[in-house]
């Protein structure tokens, strides 16, 4: 674009915030990666990587992280699409209040969900209490909270609003006349959703989905509050190694892998969804 101003001062202005970001974030991040190849014994080697990659805990954490994030994202996309669809196109009295509630929900921290789920599905919680009251059994059947499924439930609950918000914005811009035209041509609801609404919402869905995928990959609070030994994810492992075991080289290695996984999956997702969406 042809502009009348010289570029040098503009570059200088942009340099200030970039320098701040570099000092407060990029430099520490680089240092962290550097530490991961600099064992305590001195010199530089990938020895710590070998140790970490060889350990069962790490491999389980890696697998858990990816599959929990993928499952949660899928759940969020489906649930978010359905809920947003109802709010936007089958509105009921109070639908706006629900949309507002979704906004508020976004401003609460994630770990509150796990905290609440303990009261609902915990061993002494509502669901099991209800079960024992009704059946007279000694124990309720709900014990999934400390398994990956508990984490997935919490993540779906917490992150679905992140999918709903861009979707509701996109639905708000969809011309109602388009839907009226389609239904006047005899198309039924599922068909309209598939052929009119879904294609229009794909970019918003992709944007929300990629954000949620990254956030799920990086989620720590929910896993921490679950407190289960069985569910270790990469962020959890970083915390364990660094804070509980004070094994900083190993923590740096796990952290580096975690960053690589997050950025890679995010990159793949963006590339794929850009091709699908636009």
């Amino acid at each position: 674009m042809a502009e009348a101003r010289p570029w040098a001062p503009r570059l200088l202005w942009a340099g200030v915030p970039v320098a701040l970001l570099a000092a407060g974030f990029l430099y520490p991040l680089v240092l962290l990666v550097w530490q991961s190849v600099s064992p305590d014994t001195g010199g530089h080697s990938f020895a710590v990587y070998q140790d970490v990659f060889g350990s069962e805990v790490f491999r389980r954490a890696l697998g858990n992280t990816v599959w929990i994030a993928a499952a949660s994202t899928a759940g969020c996309l489906v649930l978010g699409f359905v809920l947003a669809l109802v709010i936007a196109f089958v509105p009921f009295p109070g639908a706006r209040a629900v949309a507002r509630f979704v906004d508020v929900f976004l401003s609460f921290p994630s770990f509150l969900i796990t905290l609440a789920l303990v009261f609902v599905y915990g061993s002494a919680g509502m669901a099991n209490g209800l079960w024992t009251d009704v059946t007279g059994a000694a124990e309720g059947p709900f014990a999934f909270l400390t398994t990956p499924w508990g984490v997935i439930l919490a993540e779906v609950t917490y992150f679905t609003p992140f999918v709903m918000r861009p979707l509701l914005a996109a639905f708000g811009q969809l011309d109602p006349a388009q839907i009226e035209a389609a239904s006047s041509l005899g198309a039924r609801a599922p068909r309209i959703v598939r052929q009119v609404i879904l294609p229009d919402a794909l970019p918003a869905l992709a944007a929300g989905g990629s954000l949620v995928l990254v956030m799920c990959l990086n989620e720590f609070g929910i896993v921490l509050f679950t407190g289960a030994k069985g569910v270790t994810t990469l962020p959890m492992l970083v915390y364990t190694k660094a804070i509980l075991e004070s094994d900083y080289p190993a923590a740096c290695v796990v952290a580096t892998v975690n960053v690589a996984v997050s950025l890679t999956l995010y990159g793949i997702y963006r590339a794929v969804s850009r091709r699908a969406g636009a």
Partner: protein, 265 residues
Amino acid sequence: MLVHSRGGRRAVWALFALLFLPLFALPLLVLVAASFAGHWSGALPSGPTLDHYDAAVRGESLRALTASLATAAAASALALTAGTWAALSAHALGRRARRVMDLLFMLPVAVPSVVAGLALLVAFSKPPVLLNGTRWIVILAHTVLVTAFAHQSVTAALGRLDPAYEQAAASLGARPWYVLWRVRLPLLLPSLGAAAGLCFALSMGELSATMMLYPPDWLPLPVLVFGATDRGSPFTGSALAVVLMGTTLLVLLALSRIRTKASYR
């Protein structure tokens, strides 16, 4: 309207309620209920009490609340300044340079907060800059993490801002600084308010990086909530959580009132 028959609509709404209420409304209700409960072993809580709140607004808890508020206020102010600056200066650059800057400032979102915390720990635990063990490292971490969101919201708002305004101002003889101060920033004010709210809420609830970094004399509220549940007193944790949510909501409400005043449409 998508569904025309009355019955069909009812069925859709029923499905909505069935999904929405247990998933989203129930957890929040349960938290509030638990914060007033003496016990919970069964279908419903029992032994209503205010003891947890009594504990939640004094001593250590009060200190945690102030620490959280101070951290959030400082981090959002810094993040908003840096994010707005970055967005404005990126906006003046060419397409490619702008993309690079957007990518750089989005990085803290893509990198796990725990890792960001560890990175700061690694970088600032030794001279020349020794921040570890002070509250400043917590504030720094929060600032870095929420700057990404501030930058993103301001960038989006800038994209929506009609360039005709600043061009009209320039054609009338206003220098870039004057245009920024008198035209662009006032027009961005509603979006800046929204960004401030987002940053504040995120910082209030930040746990991941904080768990890696907090010094003993600067325990933000989320850390205390975890401490309480970890010790096996989930009811105290709930009361603290309700205080956390309430404070966040109050600040958001105040910000949104300023925002409506500042919007001209």
